[in-house]
């Protein structure tokens, strides 16, 4: 009989051992065995996660420590697991997408020299992500948080000879570190307020400290809870790429495509969403924090959707779409619809991983061409990729009965019923976002798969559907992209999906139309449905019916087009202010303070002063007797004169 604890432990550790095996033994045991080890480890983790999920939905629950990391000043820092419904949802999503990506990688990376290294990294990533979601305390959460960041860094820079890739990974790590700066202070604030880093103890103590406040450095009063929530949310903004810390995510597309699917769409970037949902007992107590979350999310959802419209790189369209969808999830969190946010996280993980892997399938077929202007008409040559892409796009656009429809509609409903400051703006933003989302996702479909072929001669002769290891994951991901919504929406609506693991706000399920049938029957009478249809029709007109129109519009709206192409200028601003600014400041301090002032004047100045003084004194000691006699005479005369004439 295997105990539950052992199973919990085995889930992350099987991935860790797989990573170590594939990584260190890879060069010796060869590719085939390496990917078998990695897939075996992650596959085992997936199966066990399903088993645990089964158990949890049957009423199982676990909260306990594995070992004591350290005891300082009476505070126990522990490594442990919290297994509840939120955890198992994340575990199943993470291990399932990870497994799909592992299989897909066999095909995608087949002729890459870093094959075994790649498997090692993605297995390591799965380990880190599992540690993050299974944690029962902030220390381990931070460990997982940083470890996924490390693997993301390694994978964005996987092709380390490319200057653009190693620039992007440095940028990603540093921007994430800006978020972590807030996160670690949030953890410190939690420790000083609650005296523990254990989730359950923090949540148990939260009502006792609800009204405590702290005086800031400028004499302003802060509610502790608001302060903690805002600091933690800064961390979430870094990882989940919310404006203005979003700049790293588009550049992360420098990494291989399976990584964009796994890390930068489905799992790691949703860690911030998971964090806020996990902390829902805290966020629920601070309207200021919830309102901030709502507004940041709405800004991200809308602004990034606009940018997706002007992208021509197939991966970048999907990347900006990810940013925008993360914004939707954040909006749901701000509107206190935590279970809805996790619902969208789950459906999004499936259809976005699908879209990325489909884009990857196109990219390999096109011999690593990513520009959609040089594609077109691929649907006949790559039918499986085409069909699954359409499924993914329909889900993303929110067309019933695909998965995205349910989760997105639930978010919009939640915002509509929200009464916190900023909810009005957020409602407009998410509605408008639906139109744009549908537009850019079908822009991608029409530009890539429809219309005349713009593929160059050489590539065209080689174009064919990708091998089964690539298409199988597409099909397997398409299934939940269709059905996950319809099957789960009821459980989300009545709060049974996540149970007690997040705060349930009852007003939500009363006001909305939750339940698959209600939502489907209500759809034709709602704004989002028609906005999505309008988006698709517009995309069809612009990119299929009248392909010359986009150029006309671009010419008319040059300024807007430029602003969107420049992505609102965040990159330039950050580059000038932070990257260049800190270097100039560093130079200034080094040259003028360290070298000129401290070393030049004080240290070497002292030395040369002593040197000069002694040169002077040395002259007086010439060794010539008549010099000394002369000085003695002068001295004698001086003393006598003083005695005589005083």
């Amino acid at each position: 009989m295997i105990s539950n604890e052992l199973i919990y432990l085995l889930i992350p550790l099987s991935c860790l051992f797989a990573a170590i095996g594939a990584g260190f033994l890879g060069p010796r045991i060869g590719r085939r065995l390496s990917h078998r080890i990695a897939i075996g480890g992650v596959g085992l983790a997936f199966l066990l996660s399903c088993l645990v999920a089964w158990d949890v939905f049957d009423g199982g629950y676990f909260n306990g420590s594995v070992y004591t990391w350290g005891v300082v000043a009476g505070v126990k820092f522990e490594i442990g697991f919290l297994i509840d419904s939120l955890t198992v949802v994340m575990m199943v999503v993470v291990t399932f997408v990870s497994l799909m990506v592992h299989i897909y990688t066999i095909g995608y990376m087949s002729d890459d020299p870093g094959y075994t290294r790649f498997f090692s990294y993605i297995a390591l990533f799965t380990f880190a992500m599992l540690m993050l979601v299974m944690s029962n305390n902030f220390l381990q959460l931070f460990f997982g948080w940083e470890a996924v960041g490390l693997v993301s860094y390694l994978l964005i820079g996987f092709w380390y000879e490319r200057e653009s890739a190693i620039k992007a990974n440095l940028k990603a790590f540093l921007v994430n570190r800006v978020g972590d700066f807030g996160f670690i202070l949030g953890i410190a604030a939690i420790l000083s307020l609650f005296g523990t880093l254990d989730y359950s103890e923090v949540f148990a103590g939260v009502h006792g400290v609800q009204h405590e406040s702290v005086t800031g450095p400028f004499g302003n009063e802060w509610s502790w809870i608001t302060l903690i929530c805002l600091l933690l949310f800064v961390g979430a903004m870094g990882k989940s790429a919310q404006v203005p810390l979003h700049v790293w995510l588009p550049d992360s597309m420098e990494g291989p495509t399976p990584i964009s699917a796994l890390i930068h769409a489905a799992t790691m970037v949703t860690a911030g969403i998971f964090l806020v949902a996990r902390m829902s007992p805290l966020f629920e107590l601070s309207t200021t924090a919830s309102s901030t979350v709502l507004i940041i999310g709405a800004l991200t959802a809308l602004l990034m959707a606009f940018v997706a419209v002007v992208q021509t790189d197939i991966k970048r369209v999907v990347a900006y779409s990810t940013l925008s969808q993360l914004g939707y999830m954040t909006v749901a969190l701000g509107a206190s619809a935590y279970s809805v946010a996790i619902f969208h996280l789950g459906t999004h993980a499936f259809f976005k991983a699908l879209l990325f892997l489909a884009a990857g399938s196109v990219i390999i077929a096109m011999h690593h061409e990513q520009d959609m202007r040089r594609m077109g008409g691929l649907r006949r040559l790559m039918p499986i990729t085409y069909l699954t892409s359409v499924v993914g796009s329909l889900a993303l656009a929110g067309i019933p009965p695909f998965a995205g429809f349910f989760s997105k509609d639930a978010i919009i409903e939640a915002v509509r019923h929200s009464e916190i400051p900023g909810a009005g703006f957020a409602y407009v933003a998410v509605l408008l976002g639906v139109l744009i989302t549908a537009f850019y996702s079908f822009r991608l479909i029409f530009m890539t798969f429809h219309g005349p072929s713009r593929v160059d001669e050489h590539t065209r002769t080689h174009l064919h559907e990708s091998p089964w290891v690539v298409t199988l994951p597409l099909v397997l991901l398409a299934i939940p992209s269709i059905f996950a919504g319809v099957l789960l929406v009821g459980a989300v609506g009545d709060g049974s999906l996540l149970g007690e693991s997040v705060v349930n706000v009852s007003s939500l399920s009363d006001g909305g139309h939750f339940g698959a049938l209600e939502m489907l029957s209500h759809a034709p009478f709602s704004w989002p449905f028609w906005l999505a249809i309008a988006g698709i029709v517009l995309a069809w007109i612009f990119y299929s019916l009248r392909p010359d129109w986009p150029d006309h519009v671009t010419r008319r709206m040059k300024l807007v087009h430029q602003v969107l192409l420049k992505k609102y200028g965040f990159d330039e601003l950050y580059n000038q202010v932070f990257a260049k600014g800190s270097q100039s400041l560093g130079h200034l301090l080094w040259k003028w303070v360290d070298q000129r002032t401290i070393d030049g004047i004080l240290v070497n100045g002292t030395a040369s002063l002593i040197g000069r003084a002694s040169t002077l004194f040395r002259r007086s000691q010439s060794g010539l007797v008549y010099h000394y006699a002369f000085v003695m005479i002068i001295g004698l005369v001086a003393i006598l004169s003083w005695l005589l004439f005083r």
């Binding site: 005891v71 931070f142 490319r162 440095l170 700066f181 000083s192 400041l585 360290d594 240290v603």
Partner: protein
Amino acid sequence: MNFSDNHLLSLVIWLPIIGGALVLLISGSHRPSVARWSSLLVSLLTFWVSLSLWTRFDRSGSDMQFVERQPWIDRFNIEYFLGVDGISVPLILLTTFLTIIVVIAGWRVIQTRVAQYFASFLIMEGLMIGVFCALDSILFYLFWEAMLIPMFLIIGIWGGPNRVYAAIKFFLYTLAGSLLMLVALLYLYNASQGSFDVLVFQQLPLTSSVQTLIFLAFFAAFAVKVPMVPVHTWLPDAHVEAPTGGSVILAAVTLKMGAYGFLRFAMPIAPDAAHELAWLVIGLSLIAVVYIALVALVQRDMKKLIAYSSISHMGFVTLGFFVFDTTAMTGAVVQMISHGFISAAMFLGVGVLYDRLHSREISVYGGVVKVMPMFGFFMVFFAMANAGLPGTSGFVGEFLVILGAFSVSGVYASIAALTLIVGAAYTLWMVKRVIFGGISNPDVEALKDLDCRELGVMGILALAVLLIGVWPSPLLEVMEQSIANLLAHLEITKL
């Protein structure tokens, strides 16, 4: 009870010193391999002996342990008085462990005056351990100053082109600080009516103004050694010119002596002044964390960059001391140990490249991981540890210091936490330019990956860094009681 039980500390101090002298005697200048093997033997033996300090140390004891006390110079009541607590034990182990690493690292690299090189390190090892054990202040002072001589020689003989300038700068800088400490010790001798016992000094009542003067005198000595801004400029020069082994010991152990001095002398002898002047030390520490990080960002020489990084990390140590919080002080001591391993590994890494291409310029390299994958792995690992990634020892210290500082002041914690960003920036930017990228220099193309010896050294350091990061509990247990005692002592006014 046999001899070694009663004289464990003496054994750890004198074994390497006498061993070093013997290495000189038996190998002379003709038999370098005898010098190598005998030095390795001595360092291993010393480490083995020091291990029993760890195993036999009583974690719950609140007094000095393994005490040895003999009258030495009766006329001035100077004693041969040794003892350790939970703060010095890990530092001694760090010293004995790293000396083995240094001996192995210098195995083939050092070809001139081999016996003298290894002997210098062994003798220095004993002297440094002496600093961490001495409880008589004159004995402490002797070890403290004597340690300068082998280091002076190491930089001056086996160093780079500008070694003489660096060696003299190092020597005079630290000596200038130490002399003020000697004055303070002599004052305390009179005030205590003829004792040099550190434990007596710690109990000695002193007026406020005297405490301030004494604190400042100690501060001059220890701040130079740590080093703190603005008396840090000797360190980059000394590191750049020192041979790899010298840099390792300098960064890993010598800097810790300054920090240790604060804990053993400046703070407990003048606790009221320490509270009074905490703003000064905290201010300088925070400046070190941010200002030095910015300076590190623009360095073109790898060793200089790591040297500046050391100053920045030591800022965390002094910050942790002077917020007078258990968590922060624990973090600071862990940071001392952790920085010992990480900075050692980083300097060894630069040494590996320097041995091959004889350059430390960042711009010379690029794309090293393509030809040296194992080396690249370790450098990225240690760079991440240097940037304080959880799961490595670098995280433990920084995390605890930030946690502790926050409970005292959110502003201190916020400024300190900036290291998360700037620390990662300078370390990973160097990694990007040296390890990653395309190869543009044909010499880099011909680089050979780590050999077994280098691999072993890097691997064992990586294991240590990982172990402390994943399970710091044993280390925390050793120091827990001593830190509690120290902080309790610091809360009692001497006025």
